[in-house]
Symmetry: C2
């Protein structure tokens, strides 16, 4: 109806799809989702097409859509390749193919001269033993695909843990990564549209607990201009090499020798949720702008300091959050379950003292 209006099909119907839709409707974009249940977070925010044995429902989504995007790097590449024959899929197949496999990802990083931990892909106990010899211990053994929130990982500290870890992680293709001695975990979010505009959000500082992101501080404290510029250069290389359209996230370690890349995600990212109120344009709006061929928006933070606190497992005392003047509640309307991301709280502050006080008020949501 409206000149810039497009129909966006999302593969997935979780909280990321939900927040994409909430950001996209004000730009007159329309949404449809490909999900598994009417209870999913996106289900009420557009047309809902269900997975089923029949291919019809996916076809309906594709027929509806001017452009297709996805929520997860674990999206089936074959499916995306098939869809792309008739309808643009952003980010494209290459971004998806690379980022859903830790081996391919690290090969690309290495090819582009982006520092990352030494690594070896292994497919047998014997090759794992060889890799341990080469890389040394401690090291981290991970599945090459489908790991998230710390699942599918084991830290190896001594040779006698190798066989057990191999058995535990499923006797399938794994990757052994050298241990990185880091000061902080950081991430950066970049956006590129098909007109080759690039924008970058400031580096963010992430704190994990038991493998799950618990909170993010944005911008990360005490980051020099050079380090921010270095991170942006890495992202620029990745965006161009992948011919990426949409949001791309890179997790990084801050070490004594500079930034070391950990892993990337071809999508909006939990560490960027603070941008909903905290940046001039949120990561969600910029992803929608990018995939719909619109000009990208400013990534400037609106205040000196922001934080994002995840709500994990239990919804908790959210009415108390509503009483905090500069806190913003974002619930995904999901059932409680141990370790599950149910929502997040964005905090806006003028300085570290104010932020620290607000974080203390939210202690019920933070790991003790």
């Amino acid at each position: 109806m409206t000149p810039i209006s497009k129909k966006v099909g999302v593969l997935g119907a979780g909280q990321l799809g939900r927040m994409l839709a909430l950001a996209g409707y004000p730009l007159a974009q329309k949404f449809a989702f490909y999900g598994v249940s009417e209870d999913e977070p996106s289900a009420l925010l557009g047309h809902m097409h269900m997975h089923s044995d029949e291919a019809d429902n996916l076809k309906q989504l594709v027929d509806f859509a001017d452009v297709i995007t996805y929520e997860s790097e674990n999206t089936d590449v074959e499916m995306v390749r098939e869809i792309a024959k008739t309808t643009p899929v952003y980010p494209g197949e290459k971004s998806l193919y690379v980022s859903q496999h830790r081996g391919r990802e690290k090969n690309l990083l290495t090819d582009l001269g982006i520092p990352c931990a030494p690594f070896e892909v292994v497919d047998s106990l014997e090759s794992l033993h060889n890799a341990v010899q080469k890389i040394g211990l401690p090291a981290v053994l991970k599945t090459t695909t489908e790991g998230y929130d710390g699942k599918g990982q084991a830290v190896l500290k001594s040779e006698d843990q190798v066989e057990k870890a191999w058995q535990q992680l499923g006797e399938r293709e794994l990757i052994l990564e050298g241990f990185v001695d880091f000061a902080r975990e950081l991430s950066i979010i970049a956006v590129r549209n098909a007109h080759n505009e690039h924008v970058y959000y400031p580096l963010m500082q992430n704190v994990h607990h038991e493998g799950i992101l618990r909170y993010t501080i944005a911008p990360a404290r005490q980051i020099s201009e050079d380090v921010q510029k270095q991170a942006e250069e890495y992202m620029h290389k990745l965006l161009d090499e992948l011919d990426h359209v949409g949001v791309l996230t890179l997790e990084l370690f801050e070490t004594e020798d500079g930034l070391v890349a950990n892993e990337m995600a071809p999508r909006v990212h939990n560490s960027g949720h603070w941008t909903i109120e905290g940046a001039e344009t949120s990561q969600f709006e910029n992803h929608v702008r990018a995939i719909c061929g619109l000009p990208l928006g400013s990534t400037q933070p609106k205040q000196p300091l922001a934080a994002m606190v995840n709500i994990i497992g239990e919804t908790g005392p959210v009415e108390e959050v509503l009483k905090m003047p500069k806190a913003h509640l974002h619930l995904y309307d999901k059932a409680e379950r141990t370790g599950r991301k149910l929502g997040h709280i964005n905090l806006m502050a003028e300085n570290e003292d104010e932020l620290y006080q607000m974080m203390q008020q939210l202690s019920a949501f933070l790991p003790q």
Copy 2:
């Protein structure tokens, strides 16, 4: 699913319902709408129940909902009374009944000691002539009900215009209001929840053209603390007298003798659209909080100065708006039509100079 989650039924499916839903989903509220067409702005943002000869569709909405609200003061009071027998409707029947009739509204204002123009309700040419004698000219003749965006009004400057105006406005019940000599048009938005919490947004300055709001400056410039306090006192009286739950808006004239009330609306208001990015909590989120029994959020502006520019009739060069760093586009996805509100643009500024420059960049959207 989530502890604070409620199901909200909205009578109407226009842009106000759309923006209520966009603000409500992050608080885990679910939405359904009672509308006339699948093309309406809210249609994709929840369950859509259509008006039809059968009462079944309204019943479905009511059965779904934990609480019902409405988009327009022209909502049928009888319908609301019927619904309220089984499901809470906020704002309540009294707020609706009073604000859909200019005579009842001005009687209430007068009873509460809130200044307004002298007025007479008339139902014949003879009583209109008597009212003209009593109030004097110039004066404004209006329909008592259903007028909006300057429709259903005539300015009377001389006796010989009286008969023609009576004929033009439909020979039905009208109200004659004394002409108010005002410096500026202002409005104030207040919110009350069922726990009797009250919050107030700052006075806003509104500029109309041909009866339609074209832009709002928020906060209004050069408003003394006393004037803000006066406006809040008026709102407090209205909220309490009406036992109002939800957002209430009052349009005011700024005159040499102080504030003079013009008209009220028991709902979120076009002059409050700047609050989406401009205030800590938007009018939409606060309306949802109020009707769902949640604590109200801070009404503090996030920046020194904001403006809201309406997009009227034609969508216009909206891609240019997307390039402006501190402008936020809100389209309602409606077909273009003369005089129709299609969207709005929120501008955030540090000072008047910056705002003025941004307004100049938006000259295509402003009346010449």
